[in-house]
């Protein structure tokens, strides 16, 4: 856990964090699930806790601090993670009108993922330098 203070796969911009605070006041505690596929695929979906059931098929990428009491969890399906594991994700927000059931849509804003490749240091930290050990 201490390592995650300096190494994280996910981050959030100030504007997106402000939106999360606004939406939390309306909907209660929130989480993100990164989508894939058609249309609004590849967009982060923001749901009230409990609305979307995560399970063994999901990976908790990490949490982001939106200035609330609790950190916000960010998930992705395990299958998708296999292709995204070398990527650092930052949750941003832009003007738009996402489909799906993400809670920000009525505000006229849409959460969006900004990406960068993990640094060498991060790759090492997350154990991605060599083929994954057999579980």
């Amino acid at each position: 856990m201490t390592a995650s203070v300096t190494h994280s796969r996910v981050a959030i911009t100030d504007d997106a964090a402000a939106m999360v605070r606004q939406l939390t006041a309306q909907h209660g505690p929130l989480m993100f699930h990164q989508s894939g596929g058609c249309c609004d695929g590849s967009s982060p979906m923001c749901f009230p806790l409990g609305m979307f059931i995560t399970g063994p098929g999901d990976v908790l990428l990490g949490t982001v601090d939106a200035g609330l009491d609790d950190p916000i969890e960010v998930y992705m399906s395990a299958a998708q993670f296999e292709y995204w594991k070398f990527t650092h994700l930052t949750i941003d927000i832009v003007t738009g009108r996402g489909a799906g059931f993400s809670v920000e849509a009525p505000t006229g804003m849409r959460f969006l993922i900004r990406s960068r490749m993990l640094t060498d240091d991060e790759v090492e930290h997350f154990g991605l330098l060599t083929p994954p050990a057999v579980a």
Binding site: C39, S42, G100, F101
Partner: protein, 523 residues
């Protein structure tokens, strides 16, 4: 049908040089300034009285307001639909088929109007709505009118005195959630089989494209008994989710992305109802070396069009051939010729019939595509052409235009794995047949694929080896009714455009009848 056959490529035979925008003098299409919901055969205000702005991606400016539905509106629509079902379920296949045929006739009679309206709302080139979206919509209604008339129940003779009869019965009221990339055609893919089967529908269009379907309902509404089709607009969280989890819905159909697809299955598990899902893909378009055996013939010309079809519908297609896999021996030749063809794509006002690529459907879609272009660059892919937002000047400056973009890279890169849903092609090479299939199948999805070869043997074996529900062979992006369309792997559940989808909207009623004169003898 193809665009070329329909002579829309030149556009010269299709009326004015550039269609006037809806709202301007002389436009063939007119939107109202405000739309409510369409419930019970009439336009009604949202229960909470709220509306949201509807933006045209052509200019980035709002052009009408649309009802912002909530669970109260969904409740009202579901209740209305169930009332209508009482009589609709007793209609004969003949009556329903006749209604579907009349809908098709009405669409055809208003083709230009609907096509221009669709382009204005979605941003796609009008030559595509004129030649593909709207004619296909009419044809899908006719197809389901036809298969309904031809469909028969069955009977099984169990023994000399016992017979099992199988009847098709409608499910009841179904919920349908429509995407924004083909607002009218995707609605039709779902509406036509549902109505043919005798169901009533509550339909939630995408919030990016809420009005064109209402314009269509104004045109065809009088042909359908009141309450059989109900349209409630609004945001996913406020109207889509209440529809998907409504306890009185008997089935949900959805086209969109995987997280919402899972959420819809999750709701369906609460209500123990079936779902059909179409969740997209990252479709490989595979070019074997014999494609370039002759680079001067019409086959090669066709293959180069196939390479370039990633730009159809601005790349906003679930089956966009967004990964081109080219055999190493012809890689430089085909890629060079392909890029030359891409360079001939005309980008411009979507209402100009000569425009080949128009505007992306929304600002957030534009932003997402641009972010993926950054991901491509940062991930080590080589940008070969495009890669930027385009400013078309004047009124169009506020619109959402992206240059057709081609990257070269390897299949493990994110731009090869994630559906960008824009005019972005990722190209890589393969060594031999097995390598081609391995790369083609190295994806989470399996909706569409393309195979190009002059050898029937190679094409057949590749088509069978690729894990996708639709493998276009020496063609791409044709969507006729009567060819099953749907996904393998994470691309979804169910097959649209086909008799199979009629069955997805039907219950099977088995009457097991004994004609024996005496008891079975147990008691």
């Amino acid at each position: 049908m193809t665009i070329v056959e329909d002579d829309v490529q030149t556009g010269e035979a299709q009326g004015p040089a550039v269609y006037a925008a809806p709202g301007q003098q002389g436009s063939v299409a007119t939107y109202r300034s405000r739309y409510g919901h369409y419930i019970g055969g009439e336009v009604v205000d949202p229960v909470k009285g709220q509306y949201f702005e509807n933006i045209t991606p052509v200019t980035g400016k709002p052009f009408c307001e649309v009802g912002r539905g909530t669970s109260e509106d969904i409740d009202r629509a579901v209740e209305t639909a169930w009332k209508a079902f009482e009589s609709w379920k007793h209609t004969s296949p003949t009556e329903r088929a006749n209604i579907l045929n009349r809908i098709a006739d009405r669409i055809e009679a208003n083709l230009e109007q609907i096509a221009v309206a669709e382009t204005w709302e979605n941003g796609k080139p009008v030559r595509e709505t004129l030649a593909a979206d709207i004619p296909l919509a009419a044809d899908h209604f006719r197809y389901f009118a036809g298969v309904l008339r031809a469909q028969e129940g069955s009977l099984s003779q169990l023994d000399g005195d016992t017979v099992a009869y199988h009847f098709h019965e409608p499910l009841g009221v179904v919920g349908q959630i429509i995407p924004w990339n083909f607002p009218i055609l995707m609605a039709t893919w779902k509406l036509a089989p549902a109505l043919a089967a005798g169901n009533c529908v509550v339909l939630k269009p995408a919030e990016q494209t809420p009005a064109s379907i209402l314009l269509l309902m104004e045109l065809i509404g009088d042909l359908i008994p009141a309450g059989v089709v109900n349209v409630v607009n609004g945001f996913g969280i406020e109207a889509g989710a209440p529809l998907a989890q409504h306890p009185r819905i008997r089935k949900v159909a959805f086209t969109g992305e995987t997280t919402t697809g899972r959420l819809i299955m999750q709701y369906a598990s609460q209500n123990l109802i079936p779902v059909t899902l179409e969740l997209g893909g990252k479709s490989p378009n595979v070019f074997f070396e014999d494609v370039a055996r002759d680079t001067g013939d019409s086959y090669y010309d066709k293959a180069l069009e196939g390479f370039t079809l990633f730009a159809l519908n601005n790349g906003e297609v679930c089956t966009c051939p967004s990964r081109a896999l080219i055999q190493g021996s012809i890689y430089d030749q085909l890629l060079g010729d392909g890029l030359e063809r891409v360079g001939k794509i005309t980008q411009g006002n979507p209402l100009d019939p000569t425009t080949m690529i128009g505007a992306q459907a929304s600002n957030d879609q534009l932003e997402k595509i641009l972010s993926y272009i950054d991901i491509g660059k940062e991930g080590g892919a080589k940008l070969l052409t495009g890669g930027e937002r385009v400013d078309l000047g004047g009124e169009l400056s506020g619109g959402y235009y992206v240059a057709p973009t081609v990257f070269e890279g390897t299949n493990d890169m994110r731009i090869f794995q994630e559906e960008i849903f824009g005019p972005v092609l990722s190209v890589t090479r393969f060594t031999d047949f097995d390598d081609a299939i391995s790369i083609a199948n190295d994806t989470l999805y399996g909706l569409g694929a393309g195979v190009w070869s002059r050898s029937g043997d190679i094409a057949y074996r590749a088509g069978r080896a690729i894990e996708a529900g639709r493998v276009w062979t020496n063609t791409y992006h044709q969507y006729p009714a009567h060819a099953a369309f749907g996904g393998y792997k994470q691309s979804g559940i169910g097959r649209e455009n086909h008799l199979k989808m009629l069955e997805h909207y039907q219950q099977t009623k088995n009457l097991l009848v004994s004609y024996a004169e005496g008891p079975m003898g147990f008691f």
